[in-house]
């Protein structure tokens, strides 16, 4: 017996690295509820061994992967399972062709601003039973899925017309990537983010930006996703090059910008952007831990439940929102022990997949019922939409609650609906 300190080279992340340990099967929300999807072990590295670029795809179940990426976070050998699935899905849909529905849904960023302007007409239409029946029959957008409402004015309009208190001299600048949904459907998340950042001494700027492109990845449209990525990089890189950090409040946009532009889409400048891009709670928590901010949270005596979105687990930064919320005196904050809300972004709007998303969500809904919180908090708009539909409870972004815990003039949306 001897000692050594020579180092072999690490294995590469190929499907061959799969040791068939089935750990990924333990977390896949889809194979957990339906036998129609064989699960990550088979769908990813298993089937990959038999796929070839020159042959037609045979696995139509590949469309059932929601791209939650939970499998990636548990694999002991680093197999990029969800990426293998994505590539297979892209090839399958390239061959089969995408539906008009998919074409339309991934372009919601284009008609969002328009819908916001006419929200008073659009919102009732979206609830109209005949229209929902038509959407269901013609486009196969499930009529049971509540469609998000549009808001007037948009977040950008609100920001550009408010008094310019923001550019106070000598304050460090911070840029905010709000994402499409905050801009047109959940403006209050943007307002709360701005209020929190300003309370922490920042001067907030809103750089020009486009949809991050993650909806296009969802339908395997890699070229479309690349285009969105290239546009965003050209819009955002000037900001980071002048030394300004960017925060995001939408988990999935953040994951796309930070970890898909570079490793998956191979876009130039992606790493430069990633290095200066932070989840808003990640940034605020860091300031707190470094003792760099003097913001005191006021007590908020209430019971709240926090849900960690799948893409937050992929960001792999811990649960900064939960840690921040724990700093609020009086707030009884519990973690919802469920792996996935089930929505899967646009996946959950599609008729043929609705039952799957609902079944996945049932586990979460049961946990919520057990905790019986006054408010539910989660960083991702998809999760918020789904949890609202599953539980009919108040669901907010953590910054919307935290904003009430600091002294601010902007009172925004009330977090509390006391149930008597």
């Amino acid at each position: 017996m001897t000692h050594t300190d020579e180092i072999p080279t690490p294995p590469r992340n190929l499907p061959d690295v799969c040791v068939r340990c089935a750990t990924c099967m333990a977390v896949c929300p889809v194979s957990r509820v339906t036998p129609r999807f064989p699960g990550p072990k088979q769908a990813g590295p298993g089937a990959q061994r038999f796929r070839s670029a020159s042959e037609a795809s045979v696995d139509d179940w590949i469309e059932l992967c929601t791209a939650c990426r939970l499998c990636d976070t548990v694999c002991p050998t680093g197999v990029p399972i969800s990426e293998l699935n994505l590539m297979a899905k892209a090839k399958y849909l390239d061959e089969r062709g995408r539906t008009f529905r998919d074409w339309l849904l991934v372009r919601s960023d284009l008609f969002g601003e328009w819908a916001s302007r006419f929200s008073r007409i659009v919102n009732p239409l979206m609830k109209n039973r005949t229209i929902r029946w038509l959407l269901d029959k013609v486009l196969e957008i499930d009529r049971r899925r509540a469609l998000p409402e549009y808001e007037t004015p948009t977040f950008r309009e609100w920001f550009s017309t408010r008094p310019a208190a923001s550019e106070a001299a000598g304050r460090p600048r911070i840029a905010y990537f709000h994402g499409c949904f905050t801009n047109t459907n959940e403006v209050d998340v943007g307002k709360a983010s701005v209020a929190l950042l300003e309370a922490h001494g920042f001067s907030v700027i809103i750089p020009p930006q486009r949809c991050c492109g993650i909806p296009r990845l969802g339908v395997g449209d890699l070229r479309g996703a690349r285009e969105m990525g290239l546009r965003n990089l050209s819009l955002l890189l000037p900001t980071v090059r002048e030394g300004t950090d960017i925060v995001f409040s939408s988990t999935s946009c953040g994951l796309m910008l930070r970890h898909e532009y570079g490793p998956l889409l191979n876009l130039p400048g992606a790493e430069e952007l990633a290095k200066r891009l932070f989840d808003i709670c990640e940034l605020l928590l860091r300031l707190r831990e470094e003792g760099k901010q003097a913001v005191q949270f006021r007590p908020l005596p209430m019971r709240a439940a926090y849900f960690a979105p799948c893409h937050m687990k992929s960001l792999n930064i811990g649960l900064p929102a939960l840690e921040l919320l724990r700093c609020v005196p009086g707030l009884d904050i519990r973690l919802i022990e469920a792996e996935c809300c089930g929505l899967g972004g646009l996946y959950g709007f599609k008729k043929e997949k609705y039952a799957i998303t609902e079944e996945i969500g049932r586990d979460l809904a049961k946990e919520v019922a057990r905790i019986d919180p006054e408010v539910i908090l989660t960083d991702c708009e998809g999760c918020r939409m789904q949890i609202r539909q599953l539980t009919r409870r108040k669901v907010l972004h953590p910054v919307q609650l935290l904003r009430f815990s600091i002294d601010t003039h902007d009172k925004g949306e009330r977090p509390l609906v006391r149930r008597q």
Partner: protein, 408 residues
């Protein structure tokens, strides 16, 4: 930049236990795993030293074991360390889903291959499987569920076996995870219980695959026992292990609840070493590399599957801190001539040699890094597979590594 008191590398049972001990002692803890860790692979029950005869009292057995194996990891913890850490582990599982011994030593429980395996602590859902006899046991499988073959199991155990079909639920093709999730629903398990009752011919015990739910396994057990009028037990299967997942979830729940930061899904790719200490480690989540710093570090990365050890054509190495590895001199000596034989292959004893405080040492016995400790199966001088000691070593050394880290 935030400084943690302790960074634990590895989310297997050793890492989880180290993190838990530290957090209970009030430390700021960061735990990092490149995947979910080995609990879902092996962790069905808690083996401590299964190679000693079932009738031997565990304290007595371990004490003798340590006397004849002075380099074994158990020699670092002693029986007192083992007993204390096991009792802390049991504290994680309050009634009704508890972990207990059957008697004061090992008991034999059936496996999915139909063999009997010695183990020490059993979840309450498995205790009725200890010491079964052929005549009074019925093994129940499910049609279309390939992970568990009731005929194989019953053939080996020489008792009766049946396969149930529950067509209304569309069980064909469901995974163990999907079935366990259904078991959490009372109407489903009631129906299953009814179906089992119709198949019984006076048996007093029912063995099922280990799918008795996630949320409240003891309730699942109770329903099945009430409906069938027999004692019910679950039988471990191939991974992913549902009993193991229950353990993982419980640790993760308690760690996050008490304020630990839990990172999973990316490897630790580098360590910064300075003046005989570890000054920081790097986690790589492409395209970003993030450095984390702590006063102390516990290395609980396991062996080959966990990535704690790497083997190339000639050598075994520890890739993170480049620690020396106690190992056979050449690859030709890794395995004995016959692969399947009772005596361990020399490669299985390879690993990291430490001082009594679990700090890795070099060939001369000098401590290499003052603030790094090793725990779990990465340690040298054990043969966890042959000894049936995997979980015991993980729990006892994980606990000790955390205590030593915070004491210094």
């Amino acid at each position: 930049m935030k400084r943690w008191d302790l960074i634990v590398i590895g989310t297997g049972l050793a890492g989880l236990t180290a993190a838990r001990t530290a957090i209970e002692m009030g430390a700021k803890v960061l735990i990092i795993g490149r995947g979910m860790g080995s609990v879902t692979l092996f962790g069905n029950t808690i083996d401590v030293l299964g190679c000693i005869p079932p009738e031997t009292d565990m304290e007595e057995g371990i004490t003798r074991w340590i006397a004849t194996n002075p380099h074994h990891p158990y020699a670092r913890t002693g029986w007192a360390g083992i007993a204390e850490s096991l009792s802390a582990f049991r504290g994680l599982f309050p009634p009704p889903y508890t972990f207990d011994t059957v008697g004061s030593g090992n008991s034999l429980v059936p496996t999915g291959a139909g063999t009997l395996r010695p183990t020490y602590l059993l979840p309450v859902t498995m205790t009725a499987g200890a010491g079964i006899s052929e005549a009074d046991t019925l093994i129940v499988g499910l049609k279309g569920f390939k992970d568990f073959q009731s005929d194989t199991v019953s053939l080996h155990l020489q008792c009766r076996g049946v396969n149930l079909s529950l067509p209304r639920y569309g069980l064909e093709g469901l995974t163990a995870i999907a079935l366990a999730r259904l078991m959490d629903e009372e109407p489903f398990r009631e129906r299953l219980g009814e179906a089992i009752r119709h198949q019984m011919a006076g048996e007093k015990r029912i063995g099922l695959p280990a799918i008795l739910g996630f949320r409240a396994p003891a309730d699942v057990l109770k329903t099945l026992e009430t409906v069938t009028g027999a004692r019910v037990f679950e039988i471990p299967m191939l991974p992913p292990s549902i009993p193991g997942l229950r353990i993982f979830h419980r640790y993760r729940e308690i760690l996050i609840a008490k304020g630990a930061t839990f990172l999973m899904g990316n490897p630790v790719t580098a360590a910064e070493l300075k003046d005989g200490r570890c000054a920081g480690i790097t986690v790589h989540n492409p395209p970003l590399s993030t450095v984390y710093r702590a006063e102390s570090y516990v290395l609980a990365t396991g062996r080959f599957l966990g990535g704690g050890l790497w083997a190339d054509m000639e050598r075994i190495a520890e890739p993170l801190f480049h620690l020396p590895i106690f190992q056979p001199e050449s690859r030709g000596l890794w395995f004995r001539e016959r692969f399947f034989q009772p005596e361990a292959h020399p490669i299985h004893r390879a690993g990291i040699v430490t001082d009594e405080y679990l700090r890795p040492v070099d060939a001369e016995g000098e401590v290499i890094l003052k603030n790094v400790r090793a725990a779990g199966s990465i340690l040298a001088h054990h043969q966890a597979i042959e000894e049936h000691s995997r979980e015991g070593i993980d729990i006892a050394t994980g606990d000790l590594a955390a205590r030593r880290s915070l004491a210094s």
